[in-house]
Subunit: 417 residues, 2 copies
C-alpha cells in the first residue's frame, strides 16, 4: 500500500479576514509528520457551503486523509459536518454522550440552553466519534470511498487535546503497516542552527531510521530524532546509539529534553530538586528573566525575587554598585555584572544570583556597541563567573537571547556546584 | 465590474511540515480586507512543480487576484516564478536593479557570490517589479487573461514592507472604482469584546459605510472603523461622527489609536511628553510590567526600574512593607499594594509607582482565590489608588491581564494629575 497522503482544510471566514492565523494546520502538520504521514496541501475556505463543497470534492479526489478544523459550532455559519454529510450522502444523528455533556454544561452554570446548542451534538451517521473534553462539539471520523474524513472543532484549546488523546491513536491504527513513530527531542542553547548542523552533517546526511531534524525556534535549536519501529522499545534501541553520538559532539549545549521543555522550566525544576534558590538583577533584559522564571507554576518555591536596575541610581541604591565602578568601568562592564550578581544574591539570600547588563539598542550606550552584554552568575561558595556576549539582532532579540543565556549559564554553574 | 475576488497561495514545504504557521496569509488577508478586496481561499503547497501548477490552474480559473508568497529564493527548491512563467507561457528576464542590489550585498560583506544567487534577480518578462528593500529577491505582478498574479518573497521581514510600500498602492490602482479605504483603529482596555459589542450593538447592526469591526487580541479589544470614499478626507468625514458616538459610550476604556499602538507604548510616550518617570513593584506579575515598559526603545528616559518582590522577605527588605501588614492583611491585600506602590515610587525617585500583588495560580494563596489581584498606583502629590481585580483564566492570562491593567490605571492616573 502506498504512503498515506493527507491534506488539511480549515473552515472559517475569520481566517480569510486575517483575524487569526491558521495555527491549527501547523499543529496538525507537526503531528502527522511525527507518524510519517505526508501533508500535501493546506486549504482555508470561508463559511460558505458552495465553496466548501468545491474544496471537499477536490480533496477527496487527491488525498487519502482529509482533516477539517472548524465549523462544528452551534451557529448558522457552522456547516462543516452538514456539507461533508451532503458530499458523502449520509445523514446526521445525535450523539447521546455529546448531548449529555452539553446539557450538563448549561445546567451546571444555571444557564438556559438555547436550541441551537443541540446542533453541536449532531455527528455523521456511523462515524467514529472523538470526545471533546474541553468544549461541546465532538470530533468525528468517517471513511468514504478510499478517503478518510476527520472533522475537528476549531478552537485550539479543544482541538489540540482531542488530537493528542483520541485522533492520533485512531490515525496510527489506519497506517498501512502498524508502525510506531518514536521520538526524542533534544533542546540546545548557546549554539546556532547552522553550527549544530555542521557538527552533525555526516549524521544528518546518512540519516534514514532514525531521522534527525534540527529546527530553530525562539533563539534556540531543537533536534528531533525519530525512529519508526514495530514497538516503542525497538524505536528506543534505534535512537539511543545515534543520540549518544550526537551528545558526544554537542552535549555541552544540551539543556533538556522534550518538546515542552524550556530553559526556565529545567532551571526551576533543578533548583527545586536541590533545594536551592535564585535571584536576579536585570538591567538591559528589563524583567525578562524574572518573567520567564515566574511563568513556571510553583516557581515561588525557588525564586526569591529580582531587581530591574534600569538606571545607575537603582544599581547604586538597591544593589550597592559603587559610583566609582559605574564611572570608570561603566554600567555595561564585567565588573558591574559581577557586583550586581553578587549583591542581589546576598541581599535576597539566594543560592544563585544572576545579572545581565548590556546594550539592547537601538542606540549604543556609554560608547559601547549594541549587542554587547555581560552576564554574571554568583553562587554560594563559588567564584563569580562573568560571560561577555556579542549578540546580533534587534532590541527584542537581544533581550530574548541575553535572558536565555543567563538561564543557560545558571544551569551550567549549577552542574559545577 | 464585479467586486475583486482574491486568493493567497503560500509555497513552501516547511509550512506543510508545520515548522512555521502561515502568518503571511493572515497579514495579506488583513491588508486586502482594508481595501475591500474579498479573500476566498488560502492554499499552502509544497516546493513541487506539478502540485504548484495544479494549484495555479485552479486559482486562475476562479480568482481575479492570486497572491503567491515564497519560492523566490536562490535554491533549486524555489520554483514559484518558474512555474507561474510556465503557466502563463512567458519567459524570465534579469532585472538589473535587483541584480545590482544582490551584487552589492555580497561585495559589501566581502563574500564571494555563488552563482545560484543570480537566479534571484530573474523576474517574469514584462512584469511590474516590486523592490525588495530588506532582502534580495524582488516581488512582481503580471496580468494574464482576467487574472493578476502577484509574486512575493516568503520571509515576513522582506514581504511585509514590500506590501506596505509597493504592493498596496499597486493593488489600489487595480480596483474597479478608485476608492480609498480609510480606517481608524481604536484601542481599548478594561472592557471585554462582548461588553463592548453590546454597548455598540445598534451602531454595528446598522453599519454600512463606515463599517465597525471589533476584535479581541492579547486580552485587549480593538475596534476598526473603515470608510470607503473617493478621498481620505471624505473618508475622515464619514468616520468622525461615528467615532464620536462610539467614544461617548465607551471612551473611558480607550487608551490609544492605531494598529501598532500598545498600552506600554502610549504610557512611555505620555511620560516622555510630560517629563515624568515611573517605577514598579511586581509580585504576581513577576517582571511582566517591567518587560513591557522596557520593550519600548527609549524607555530608559522614563523608566527608573523595578523590584520583583516575589517573596515576603523582598517586600520587607527592599520595599519596607511592615511585617505586621504582611501578617494581618497578607501579601495579597489592598494595604500591601498601596505600600508597595508608594515605597517603590519614593525609593526610586519616580513620579509614579505602580504595584501588583495577587494570586496567579494554579493554587490559591493565603486562602485567597486564584485571580484576585490588587493594583496600586501612587503618584507624586496625589492620594494612592488601589484597584481590586478578579481575573479569569490560567496563570499566563492572569499575569498578562494584571500587567495591562496596571499600565491602564497608570495612564488613567496620569490624566487626572
Amino acid at each position: 500500500m502506498r504512503k498515506m497522503r493527507a491534506e488539511i482544510i480549515a473552515v472559517g471566514t475569520e481566517l480569510l479576514l486575517g483575524q487569526i492565523a491558521n495555527t491549527n494546520a501547523q499543529f496538525l502538520s507537526q503531528k502527522l509528520a511525527e507518524i510519517g504521514v505526508g501533508v500535501y496541501f493546506h486549504t482555508v475556505v470561508g463559511d460558505n457551503t458552495e465553496r466548501l463543497l468545491q474544496v471537499i470534492r477536490l480533496a477527496s479526489g487527491r488525498s487519502d486523509l482529509v482533516i477539517f478544523t472548524g465549523g462544528l459550532g452551534p451557529t448558522q455559519d457552522d456547516l462543516t459536518k452538514e456539507t461533508v454529510a451532503g458530499h458523502v450522502g449520509i445523514g446526521l444523528e445525535t450523539n447521546s454522550e455529546a448531548m449529555e455533556r452539553i446539557e450538563k454544561f448549561f445546567s451546571q452554570r444555571g444557564i438556559v440552553m438555547t436550541k441551537n446548542n443541540r446542533k453541536q451534538a449532531l455527528v455523521l451517521s456511523g462515524s467514529h466519534v472523538f470526545s471533546n473534553d474541553f468544549g461541546m462539539a465532538p470530533g468525528m471520523a468517517i471513511r468514504h470511498d478510499s478517503s478518510t474524513f476527520v472533522l475537528l472543532p476549531g478552537p485550539p484549546s479543544e482541538m489540540y487535546p482531542m488530537v493528542e488523546n483520541y485522533v492520533m491513536p485512531y490515525l496510527t491504527d489506519l497506517l498501512p503497516d502498524k508502525q510506531v513513530f518514536h521520538s526524542h527531542v533534544l533542546r540546545f542553547y548557546g549554539i546556532g542552527e547552522s553550527a549544530l548542523e555542521e557538527k552533525l552533517l555526516d549524521l544528518i546526511e546518512k540519516q534514514d531510521n532514525p531521522t534527525i531534524a534540527p529546527y530553530a525556534k525562539e533563539f534556540e535549536v531543537t533536534l528531533r530524532i525519530t525512529a519508526r519501529a514495530a514497538t516503542v522499545e525497538e524505536g528506543e534501541t534505534l535512537i539511543l546509539p545515534v543520540e549518544k553520538e550526537i551528545l558526544s559532539r554537542v552535549g555541552q549545549y544540551m539543556y533538556g529534553m522534550g518538546e515542552n521543555s524550556s530553559l526556565h522550566d529545567v532551571l526551576v525544576s533543578e533548583l527545586k530538586k536541590r533545594n536551592e534558590t535564585i535571584a536576579c538583577a536585570e538591567s538591559c533584559t528589563g524583567g525578562a528573566i524574572a518573567s520567564l522564571i515566574t511563568a513556571v507554576p510553583g516557581s515561588s518555591q525557588v525564586f526569591r525575587g529580582g531587581v530591574v536596575c534600569y538606571t545607575n541610581e537603582v544599581k547604586k541604591q538597591l544593589l550597592e554598585v559603587p559610583d566609582s565602578i559605574l564611572q570608570t568601568d561603566g554600567a555595561v562592564s564585567e565588573k558591574t555584572a559581577q557586583l550586581l550578581a553578587e549583591h542581589v544574591r546576598e541581599k535576597l539570600g539566594a543560592t544563585y544570583g544572576i545579572s545581565v547588563t548590556g546594550v539592547a539598542g537601538p542606540d549604543p550606550s556609554e560608547g559601547k556597541p549594541v549587542g554587547l552584554v555581560y552576564v554574571g552568575i554568583a553562587a554560594e561558595g563559588m567564584p563569580t563567573v562573568v560571560k561577555e556576549l556579542r549578540l546580533a539582532g534587534r532590541r527584542h532579540a537581544i533581550v530574548g537571547r541575553a535572558a536565555k543565556y543567563a538561564l543557560f549559564y545558571a544551569l551550567q554553574m549549577q552542574k559545577e556546584r
